[in-house]
């Protein structure tokens, strides 16, 4: 009699518990934030704050690309949408920062869903082109409108001396407390994203990635789960935009070009879209490398070439990105330790 159970499998393939995989996130973020808060100067603290905030937008991108195989090139525009709404609500109504932040996330989720509507029918190059054009449209709009700075009217633009900065949350007014505040939201956002990947939505997305016919045959409402992925991705990008707005109290429209969305996607691939810490790595690459070059007195545009080479290297040798390589290393280490323990 043939037994399907007799084959042996690598111990590393065994799934770890859901709670264990999710709890690894706050632990890692706590260690990282503690180290930065203790040792970084104000320049690096600001760069790290932006990096952690942007890691949330990468986590959103990783849901679309890593879970569904959808290439969306408008993620940085959604960061801008979240930032715009946060600034507008903050200046107009002066609510607690968390209310403005949540408003930014929710509106970006709705816009993300609208941006994702083509994806319900398109994929591959065509979806990439459509979303890139949407990012271009946002670039034009934000160039004309600018970000709200305390003025009146729908656009909230003030002239000259009337300009105001968005206040940080009352419990995190200084640089270090705000950095830790951003880390708390980043950990929560990454945990939400990871829970989605490991639970029912992640299983549905995995089936959709396998094939829409396969997913439908398993009872998955494909359009609902695709739309949910776009909304969640937009929400995370919106929260990232809100946290960036809170970091400096203002945003510059020139920083939200369609190229930034391309850059974000490239770095998401380099960081790794299949492991949650790939988002952290990509966020750090996005802000730490330019900060390092600036610190060394080198033009920040050199990063474009560096990121291009990194993308080439990732696509050629490590499709699962830096995070995938770290994951492989950890798995080999666990297997080795397991073998040593058995002997």
């Amino acid at each position: 009699m043939v037994s399907p159970m007799t084959a042996s499998f690598p111990a590393t393939a065994a799934a770890r518990t859901l709670s264990g995989q999710i709890l690894a996130i706050p632990m890692t973020v706590a260690i990282f934030s503690g180290a930065i808060a203790l040792f970084a100067n104000s320049f690096w603290l600001s760069a790290a704050t932006s990096a952690i905030a942007l890691s949330l937008s990468v986590a959103g991108l990783a849901i679309l690309y890593g879970q569904l195989g959808l290439v969306s090139l408008c993620q940085f525009a959604l960061v801008g949408v979240g930032g715009w709404v946060t600034l507008r609500v903050g200046h107009a109504f002066h609510p607690p920062f968390e209310v403005s932040l949540l408003a930014g996330g929710i509106v970006a989720a709705v816009v993300g869903l609208a941006f994702g509507l083509p994806a319900l029918r398109l994929r591959g190059l065509y979806l990439a082109l459509v979303t890139l054009m949407l990012a271009g449209a946002f670039q034009i709009i934000i160039s004309a409108w600018g970000f709200p700075d305390g003025g009146s009217g729908f656009l909230g633009r003030a002239d000259g001396a009337g300009r105001a900065m968005l206040s940080r949350p009352s419990i995190a007014g200084e640089a270090i407390p705000y950095f830790l505040y951003v880390n708390v939201f980043a950990a929560l956002g990454l945990m939400i994203a990871q829970w989605h990947k490991l639970a029912r939505p992640g299983r549905a997305w995995a089936l959709i990635r396998k094939g829409e016919t396969v997913a439908i045959s398993a009872g998955v409402p494909v359009l609902v789960y695709k739309a949910w992925a776009f909304a969640l991705s937009g929400f995370l990008a919106g929260i990232a935009g809100a946290l960036l707005a809170g970091n400096v109290g203002q945003l510059d429209g020139r920083a939200f070009t369609s190229f930034e969305s391309l850059n974000l996607f490239a770095l998401a691939v380099v960081g790794g879209v299949y492991n949650w810490y790939g988002a952290l790595i990509a966020g750090l690459l996005l802000r730490a490398i330019p900060a390092l070059l600036t610190d060394l007195g080198i033009d920040g545009y050199v990063t474009i070439g560096i990121f291009g080479l990194a993308l080439f290297q990732a696509l050629a040798t490590a499709p699962s990105g830096v995070a995938g390589q770290i994951s492989g290393l950890l798995n080999r280490l666990r297997a080795h330790l397991g073998k040593s323990g058995a002997e």
Binding site: M1, V2, S3, P4, M5, A7, F9, P10, A13, A14, A15, R200, R203, A204, A206, L207, R209, K210, G211, T213, V214, I216, S217, A218, G219, V220, P221, Y274
Partner: protein, 234 residues
């Protein structure tokens, strides 16, 4: 019982199924025919991915063509594909849960997944990722997915493709247990005539989208028309 009445499927100028009328009532029925005979197209019609231009299909008295593919799954229709579709980065349990999530209420999922796991004898590898499974185990996962929930009609498209005779024997034994344990009717496509003979009491033979024969499997396989069209005998 699957009742098909005057079914016509047309793709441009081609009719992969042409005026097909048949009734399949055996617990495990076979569907055979040469390549291009319309077997997979018929499975696609039954599961809702191909819309016929004419005809009726009823399963256990319920009209099938009025239902969307999702409604059919929720009503108890299950299918496997010619190429197994196990998700590599989900565990065996995850693959089973992926269907339980959408066909069962929350409080019934764990029990159904556990029963399916035992049915296909994969409990020992329940936490193994799909990417680490061998072909036999992947085929068993596919069968396990078909028995999650309350299946009423299970469509298996070449479930034993690529398996050894011994492995096919295990799979056959499991498929034969489905009607008794789950109350579901099974329709199997396979090119392995010996497997069909051992498993199916009734077989439908298609050729160019039309019914060539339908009846007890031994009689059908002995038919000169079937032997000429399908088995290549002159």
């Amino acid at each position: 019982m699957i009742a098909i009445e005057n079914l016509i499927v047309q793709f441009g100028g081609v009719r992969p199924i042409d005026c097909l009328t048949a009734q399949l009532s055996a617990p495990v029925s076979g569907l055979i025919g040469p390549n291009g005979a319309g077997k997979t197209t018929l499975l696609n019609v039954l599961s809702g991915f191909v819309r016929p231009i004419e005809g009726k299909v009823a399963v256990k008295g319920q009209a099938l063509l009025d239902l969307s593919p999702l409604q059919r799954v929720r009503a108890g229709l299950r299918r496997s594909f010619q190429t197994e579709q196990v998700v590599e980065d989900l565990t065996v349990v995850g693959n089973l849960k992926a269907i339980a999530d959408h066909v069962l209420p929350n409080n019934e999922r764990a029990e159904s997944v556990s029963a399916a796991l035992d049915f296909v004898r994969l409990r020992a590898v329940a936490a193994t990722m799909g990417s680490s499974l061998n072909l036999f185990q992947r085929r068993l996962v596919e069968l396990g997915k078909c028995v999650v929930g309350t299946p009423k009609l299970i469509l298996l498209d070449e479930p034993a493709a690529g398996l050894s005779n011994e492995e096919s024997g295990v799979l056959r034994e499991l498929i034969l247990r489905i009607p008794g344990e789950y109350g579901a009717q099974v329709l199997v496509i396979d090119h392995d005539v010996d497997l069909i003979r051992a498993m199916c009491t009734e077989t439908l033979v298609l050729d160019y989208g039309r019914m060539l024969a339908l009846g007890p499997t031994d009689e059908v396989l002995a038919s000169p028309d079937v032997r000429r069209a399908y088995l290549g005998e002159f």
